[in-house]
Every structure is written in C-alpha cells, then in structure tokens.
C-alpha cells in the first residue's frame, strides 16, 4: 500500500514537471499588475495656465511721446538760437 502510494505521488510529480517543461514561454510578458492605489497616486495633469488678463496701467509717458501732434502742441517755444561764433573746422 505504501509502495503504491509512493509510486502514485511520483507519477503525479513527473506529470506536473513534464507539463511545465512544454509550456510556451514565447508569448508576451504579462503586464505587471497595477494596483488601484498606484493609479490614484499619479498626479492628474493640471490645466494649462491661461493668460491672466491684467488691465494695462495707463502709461502717460508713452501716450505723449508716441503722439506727434501732442508733442508739437506741448513743445516749449524754441529759444532763438544764437549763431555759432566759431570759425573754421573743429
């Protein structure tokens, strides 16, 4: 009885090993299991920053100095230029 039992177990082990040896390992490697907890840890893409519309402060300097007519209107009357008294080349 003991001898038959041992023979039965040995045959079963041999069958299992033979099955494993024939297994096809050329197929794709299965993807690692991804746990739900890990998925949740991946930060969700943040929304792209949109341009903040800041109302430009009024720039009086540029407003005047880009306005030809305003410059003409506000120009101080020119002092009469005295003709140079220099003679000859400098």
């Amino acid at each position: 009885m003991t001898k038959g039992k041992t023979l039965f177990l040995s045959s079963l082990l041999l069958l299992l090993l033979t099955s494993c040896a024939n297994a096809d390992i050329s197929g794709p490697i299965s993807q690692p299991v991804v746990f739900a907890a890990e998925v949740e840890m991946t930060p969700a893409p943040k929304p792209l920053p949109t341009e903040t519309l800041v109302e430009a402060e009024p720039d009086d300097c540029r407003a005047c100095h880009t306005d030809k007519q305003q410059l003409i209107d506000t120009a101080k009357p020119e002092e009469p230029t005295t003709e140079s008294e220099s003679k000859g080349v400098g």
Binding site: H65, A75, V89
Partner: protein, 383 residues
C-alpha cells in the same frame, strides 16, 4: 543732415519700441520723472539722458560693457589730457580744466549718444524712435563728430579726391573695422582672453588714440601683404618700415592755430581755426614701438599753437615743444593706387612728399625735431 525739429527729437516709435527688449522697461525706470498726463509734472526730476551715468543705467543689464567703457577714450577724452598735460605744467592745470570744460568736454560720449540718439554735441535727438541701434548709423553718429577730417576723407567730400576704397567699393562703415570692443574701450578684443569684466577693467586705460595694441590693423584682412605672399615687390622691400598709409593714402586735411575764447557778445564759448588745408607729407614715426614699428608715417598738422588758450592766461603751455605739431596720422582715404605707388621714384628723391625743416613753421621747429626728415631718400636708378 538737417537739424531735427524739437518734437522729432523725442518722438518714440509707438509700434516698434514697445515690442523691443528695451520697450519692456518702464520709462521712469531709466528716465525717472513720474507718470502724469501733465507734462510739467511728469518731467519733474526727469533724466533726459540716463546714460550720462552708464553704470547706474545701461550697466544694470550690460555691466560687462560699462565696467570698461568708463575708461574708454569716448568717455574720458584722455587723449586731450595727455597732450595738454605734456605741453603744460601742473600749476596751469586748474585753468586748463576750466578751458576744457568750456570748449572740449562737449565731445564726451556715452552709451545713448551712439545707440539711441545723435550725439549731444551735434544737437541730439532720437535716431530711430527710441529703438536701440546695436550698430550705430555711421553718418548720424560716428562722422557727425569725426567729420571734419576722418569723415570728409572717408566719404570723399573733398573735391577731386576719391573717398576711401573701403567705402566706395566695399560700402564698409566705421564699425566694420572699429569693433564695438574697441569703441567701448576694449582694444583688440581684450576680453577674448581676459574673459571676466573685472580683469578687463584692470587693464591699463588708453591715454591716446594710438595707445597699446594696434587695432584695427590692415593686416587683419590683408594678411598676404605682410607674409610676402601677395607678389608685390614693394611689400617685401619695405616690410614694416613704412606704415600702410604712406603708400596707400592720398591728400588729407591739416589745420593750424585753433584758439578758444568766450564771446563778449553772447557769453558763449567759441573757437577759431586759423587755417585748414590739404597736405600729404611723410615724416618720421614719433610713436615708434613694438606695435607701430614703422620708420616713416604720414604726418598731419594738428590745430594747436602755443597761444591756443591765451584767453585763459599767458604761457599756459610752457612745454609746447615737448610734442610735435605734425603728428602720426592714419588718413582714412585708402586707395589701391596712389601717386606714391606709381614708381619707386614717386617717393625716392621727391622732396615734396617729405616733412623737411623748410616745411615747418620756424616757431615749431623744436617741437617737430622727432618727425622732421633730414635726408630725403635717394632716387633709385630705374631700368
């Protein structure tokens, strides 16, 4: 060019300037003053020309340039002081400083005088709507100041005399030879080796225009000339005993006797130059050194006289004879072919081309001993 109207001098290009790099800076950051629709209020504390203090304005972003610019000849005008101090005496310096402030200091140039506006000495006014010009326009900046001699020669403004071949044929402007490094006080691109601004700033400051390394130099582009590979016999015969200009420049301007004074009528400073004339004269090289080894160079008479500053006092130049009045010159009217290049005897034996004692004013003979040629080169027997 015609003088600018007052409004034209300060009109900012409203389309392009705000888009430029400098247009990102608030006006008051450089010009002070304040934001106000009222002109008088806005202009309280206004700094019209911020670059009069380069380190505090342009230097905030360009410290490498302003660190050395303060020692450049454009900023210091040290060339004037080198000759004034040599010809003068220490006890006269205070008076000469007053004279200098009245008549010479307006030629000082800072960043904005070339890159933003016309130089103040020619009336100022924005060059191009406050856009910053990396390469200043030649005739509105460089020759606006350097006009009576260099500008007129280079551009061919003397009747019957062609402009410089580099301008006529190559349309080269000043900056094609005189780089920003040189004009900013870094002759010969010193910072190529001395890479940090601190080291570059520690280099000796130039005390006149021909100080230190010769730059620009013709050989930079015309290398074959100096290596004897251009097949021109005269280049091999003369080697470095003649400066390039001896053979390749033509008649240029000399001036005599500039005198300065303050007008009794208007209270304004003025000058009077006694004579301006065209010459071409070869003299001995008064600045002969490793950088400028030539025996002979063209010499130009500068408008100095022993009495130039007598309005401010008697005998202010007691050492007048310490420097020649005929000085080392580099005329900017280079030509491939000149009267000198026609034959050997165009120069050899031709006394008219040489600064001999008879061509020097008797009162200036002593001052010019170092440049006067005593023996004219003998004629060469031609085949």
């Amino acid at each position: 060019m015609a003088p600018l109207e007052p409004w034209e001098k300060v009109l900012v290009n409203g389309d392009k300037f705000p888009q430029s790099v400098h247009g990102q800076i608030a006006c008051v950051d450089c010009h002070s003053g304040s934001q106000s629709p009222d002109k008088d209020t806005a202009h309280i504390g206004l700094i019209a020309r911020p670059s009069v203090d380069p380190a505090a304005s342009c230097g905030k972003c360009h410290p490498d340039v302003t660190a050395v610019f303060s020692d450049s000849l454009h900023a210091t005008q040290q060339g004037y002081w080198t000759v004034l101090e040599t010809r003068s005496a220490p006890e006269n310096h205070a008076v000469l400083e007053t004279m200098f402030g009245n008549h010479c200091a307006s030629c000082h140039t800072d960043c904005g005088d070339c890159h933003v506006s016309q130089p103040a000495s020619v009336g100022g006014g924005l060059l191009n709507g406050h856009l910053f010009e990396e390469t200043p326009p030649m005739t509105r900046t460089c020759t606006a100041c350097h006009g009576s001699r260099v500008g007129s020669e280079y551009l061919g403004k003397h009747e019957g005399l062609p402009g410089d071949v580099h301008f006529r044929e190559g349309r080269m402007n000043c900056m094609d030879c005189h780089t920003g490094h040189e004009l900013h006080g870094q002759p010969a691109n010193c910072d190529a080796c001395h890479t940090d601004s601190e080291t570059a700033a520690a280099l000796p400051s130039p005390d006149h225009r021909y100080a230190g390394v010769q730059f620009p130099r013709c050989e930079t582009c015309h290398a074959a000339t100096t290596t004897g590979q251009d097949g021109v016999e005269q280049h091999q015969v003369h080697g470095a005993d003649l400066s390039c200009q001896v053979c390749h420049s033509i008649t240029y301007t000399s001036c005599d006797g500039c005198h300065v004074a303050i007008s009794e009528k208007s209270g304004n400073p003025f000058f009077e130059t006694q004579a301006t004339y065209l010459t071409f004269l070869i003299g001995r090289n008064p600045l002969k050194n490793y950088q400028r080894p030539y025996d002979f160079v063209p010499v130009r008479h500068v408008p100095i006289a022993s009495t130039s500053y007598q309005f401010y006092g008697e005998n202010l130049l007691p050492n007048f004879d310490a420097l020649p009045t005929w000085v080392y010159a580099t005329p900017h009217n280079i030509q491939l072919k000149t009267p000198q290049t026609e034959t050997c005897n165009a120069c050899h034996g031709n006394a008219a081309l040489f600064l001999s004692a008879d061509k020097v004013a008797p009162t200036e003979l002593e001052a010019n001993r170092s440049v006067i040629i005593e023996t004219i080169p003998e004629p060469i027997p031609e085949p």
